[in-house]
């Protein structure tokens, strides 16, 4: 199970591009990445999930943890996702009410908090 992560800066946002599978085996890598970003003062994050092939509840927990961390600094965490099977997981767990979910990175970066 592989997870790929990369980050880049767009304006005052940090875009985290995630690819592969987010499960109990790989989620710690994503958790560390989010913690590192917040620790270095980057509180406005966009997580691009277009390359995510699998997401389980461990992955959801990591994203929720990341959101709580940036909110503690009055920051934001926006998701980019158009894959129906991933979106369904957010819908049935009620997390669409928690995360702003966008159709593209451009849209997420342009969104105001």
């Amino acid at each position: 199970m592989d997870l790929s992560l990369s980050t880049r800066t767009e304006g005052d946002r940090t875009v985290v591009v995630v690819g592969g599978e987010i499960d109990v085996y790989t989620a710690p890598k994503l958790r560390e990445q989010l913690i590192d970003l917040v620790s270095s003062g980057q509180y406005h994050l966009v997580v691009d999930m277009e390359g995510v092939e699998f997401l389980d509840s461990t992955g959801l927990g990591v994203l929720v943890g990341g959101l709580k961390r940036v909110r503690a600094h009055e920051g934001s965490l926006r998701l980019v996702c158009t894959q129906e099977r991933i979106l369904k997981i957010f819908r049935i767990t009620g997390l669409t009410k928690v995360f702003p979910i966008h159709g593209s990175v451009e849209e997420a970066v342009a969104a105001t908090d």
Binding site: D23, V24, K68, E84, K97
Partner: protein, 140 residues
């Protein structure tokens, strides 16, 4: 392969996922249904490894078997960790609650039960057995 038996450790989640993918392909499940089945099995297998074996200090096996008939695919995931009935777990707290007041726990079982057409649990002779059933496309 109709049965796969692997150690009850996190590294075994990948071969289990591969087994589920193969079974789904053989059953002719559409991509979305195959994904939901894989997610359901992954959630329960993860619980077994983390809470059934590791937290209780036990070691054991995970065994997954498939049963395919003309109407449905049923997978049975079996382990020898302490008895745990996912269906007896309370549903996650109100999903409309705010993020700060809502625990994330419980979502895995919720995803499991939502993800398959039928989910059943039994404890027989020291074995937890979790049954995941999905209807095959031609039978829907």
């Amino acid at each position: 392969m109709d049965v796969l038996e692997v150690p009850g450790v996190l590294e075994s989640l990948q071969p289990i996922a591969d087994f589920v993918k193969e079974a789904s392909a053989e059953a002719g499940l559409e991509r979305r249904e195959a994904y939901r089945l894989r997610l359901a099995v992954d959630e329960i297998a993860t619980n077994v490894v983390l809470y059934g074996y590791e937290r209780s200090g036990q070691t054991g096996l995970l065994r997954i078997a498939k049963n395919l008939d003309s109407e449905r695919l049923t997978l049975c995931l079996e382990d020898t960790s302490p008895p745990y009935d996912p269906t007896a777990q309370a549903p996650p707290s109100d999903l409309s609650e705010s993020l700060e007041s809502r625990p994330i726990g419980g979502l895995g079982v919720f995803l499991t039960i939502q993800g398959v057409d039928d989910f059943r649990y039994e404890y027989v002779e020291g074995h937890n057995r979790n049954y995941f059933t999905v209807r095959r496309p031609a039978a829907v």
